[in-house]
Amino acid sequence: MGPTKLEPAVALAELQESKPDRVTSVVLSGDFDRVMAAFIIATGAAAMGMQVTMFFTFWGLNVIRREGATSGAKDLLRRMFGFLNKGGAGRLPLSRFHFGGLGTSMMKRVMSQNHMPGIAELRETAQDLGVKFIACTTTMGMMGVTKDTLIEGVDQLAGVSTYLAEARHGSVNLFI
């Protein structure tokens, strides 16, 4: 490999390797359609060699909760909230035309007929491609989402300064 390292193309590749474009997104929404857009952008960016961080907060936390997970919160109010607001990538409603689940399940059927990956598959692809997941601790506390109810592979539990530290280096920062 020795001499090839001097080639400009290789040098450029190494530069990109060490300082790639960064993409961050705040996923506040827990709507099926919005989350899908977030994952399509994240996986697309990762496939383009960009370094991607997704910061999940409020309803977005449902995306990285285990299917049907309720809450392990100690106090009643938060446990109740965690129970009413069930998590899981398979439970996200459409932002429009949900129709008590009928619209969303129709959309899912159309998607699977057309080989389109669902939220869970997109999330797995994102993890495979090295997309970093951060869960917001403040909203986790507010909404009774406990660490033990999150999926495997959430890289960090953190707050706004962690997000900003990432976002200030980002060339694409999205709020979804």
């Binding site: 193309a9 290789v10 450029l12 590749a13 990109q16 474009d21 399509i40 996986t43 697309g44 496939a47 383009m48 060699g49 960009m50 057309n114 080989h115 389109m116 990956p117 692809t125 491609l129």
Partner: protein, 81 residues
């Protein structure tokens, strides 16, 4: 007619799957080899050149044809890094 070393079939897959499949597949090629990505997603006409530009691979060409009444796109990408 462009000669490809490896062929990748993404027929029936929509954005972003063809790009993701390409980014995984290209790693199996050696430098200079050409990957043929077959897709029926029209977006690939723009997406593949953009992916090549960002990742530093070379877009060798794009072919369009009609197969069973549907449009098929063949993007040729040379592994360049």
């Amino acid at each position: 007619m462009i000669r490809a070393d490896v062929k990748l079939d993404t027929l029936g897959y929509f954005c972003p799957m063809p790009i993701i499949m390409t980014s995984k597949k290209i790693k199996e090629l050696t430098l200079g080899q050409v990957l043929e990505v077959v897709s029926d997603d029209e977006g690939i006409k723009k997406d593949m050149p953009a992916w090549c530009q960002t990742t530093g691979h070379e877009m060798v060409g794009l072919e369009e044809e009609t197969q069973n009444a549907s449009r098929i796109y063949k993007a040729f990408v040379k592994r360049s890094k």
